[in-house]
Amino acid sequence: MIKLTLPLSHDAIVNLEAGDQVLLSGTIYTARDAAHKRLIGLLNEGKELPFDLVDQIIYYVGPTPNKPGEIFGSGGPTTSGRMDAYAPTLLDLGLKGMIGKGLRQQSVIDSIQKNEALYFGAIGGAGAYIKSCITSCEIIAFEDLGPEAIRKLEVKDFPLTVVIDSKGNDLYKLGKEKYLRGRTNG
């Protein structure tokens, strides 16, 4: 388990490999379908984004409403593939990482490699567990989108796995191959 504190240095990023397990701490931003559409809309209109993307990490999540007295609701990752159309544009603007679950298309993998960024996998469906890693939450944009509003989160020891590393290696491909190879040999 590798402990990582945000923002990530260039060295930290390039040293991580697909399959590495990390505990992430620091500030991240949430955005999923509708928020991405609006971010790209703002860029197309030449307007400023609600937060500076440079060296930041976006978590693809739409949490449940938090109960009174709680900071955050249930909040596991959503399927990343729906953000594939938007991700390369954000990576070109300096985004350094995405947290989600599920396959990314080749154009996103290429963009991750080109921009020396990372794609982390969080455990899908582990919303109650992940809730316990979130120490603060503030809605900073698009409040009308409800669960899809952009939130600034402070996380502590958020358990993640590097799925696509800065060299473009993809754990979804490699992990399966490694497991099947082990079975044939074993």
């Binding site: 739409g62 609701g73 399927t79 996998g121 919303g127 809730k131 497991y179």
Partner: protein
């Protein structure tokens, strides 16, 4: 004619929506425990461990197991000797509305699928399937379905000549196409027969059937076991990181079909295979 009030239905639907989202069914919990014991990939075992802890935390802290608290699928069996005072559909939707509000569940339903896509803000309407049966009871199953896995379901109209091999090939293709997206380990329901629309419903009912139960025809029961082994030999594993446990179960439901056809549908549910049932 037995009378059942709207109020009674609203109350049970509300409670089932809340409980289903916080409490993993016993058969699913046991299946994850078994998978945890058997998993031989390190990342896979770690993932299953987190899922076990997640389920306990959800139960103890009254937090939804998953943030996608789903669109509510309601399966209703109405005894022909039951009369509901008021609107049955209205009562189910009112139960959903109250449950999603009072249970702090996420509202994930949009009013129009293509143009407006405006959130209805109360998670209604539910998708209700009615069956009329003999007797004077009313059975309601509430199954909140997340769309990470729903998006991975597929239907295909096979030719009769495609035979058993055709069914196997299609099931494996659907699971392989889905890969890590539906949050494996998954629960699979396969429908075979009926018509284009009926086969999808069969697959969903198969998906909701208790883990460990088998089709009553031993040929289909054997196919359930064989297909589950084949799926788990794909190596996708928990979270898609590689491993033995791609699926926790695979159930088949069948129906007679036309001489010219062999519809097949594959429903996939994530490991958060939620459902609650009540008989009034």
């Amino acid at each position: 004619m037995r009378e059942i009030s709207e109020k009674e239905i609203i109350e049970v639907v509300k409670t089932m929506c809340i409980d289903a989202n916080r409490q993993l069914p016993k058969d699913v919990t046991l299946a994850i425990d078994r998978a945890y014991q058997c998993e031989d990939s390190d990342l896979g075992k770690e993932t299953l461990g987190i899922l076990k802890e997640n389920a306990s935390l959800a139960y103890e802290t009254l937090t939804p197991i998953c943030q996608d608290t789903g669109m509510v699928c309601a399966f209703v069996e109405i005894g022909q000797d039951v009369h509901v005072q008021g609107s049955l559909e209205g009562a189910i939707n009112e139960g959903v509305r109250l449950g999603y509000q009072e249970g702090y569940l996420r509202k994930s339903v949009v009013n129009d699928p293509l143009f407006d896509r405006k959130n209805t803000t109360d998670n209604t309407p539910a998708i209700i399937t009615y069956d009329i049966v003999e007797g004077d009871q009313l059975k309601i199953i509430i199954a909140p379905k997340g769309f990470g896995s729903e998006n991975m379901c597929q239907t295909k109209m096979l030719k009769p000549s495609d035979g058993v091999q055709g069914v196997k090939d299609f099931v494996l293709k659907v699971v392989e196409d889905a890969g890590p997206n539906p949050c494996p380990p998954i629960v699979i329901g396969v429908g075979i027969g009926g018509s284009f629309d009926r086969v999808a419903l069969l697959s969903k009912k198969a998906m909701l059937r208790e883990i460990g139960t088998h089709h009553e025809d031993e040929r289909y029961a054997a196919l359930e076991d064989e297909l589950l082994t084949m799926v788990n030999d794909l190596g996708i594993g928990p979270a898609g990181y590689g491993g033995k446990t791609t699926a926790l179960s695979l159930n088949i439901e069948t129906y007679p079909t036309h001489i010219a056809g062999m519809p097949v549908a594959v429903s996939i549910c994530c490991h958060v295979a939620r459902h609650k049932e009540v008989i009034l």
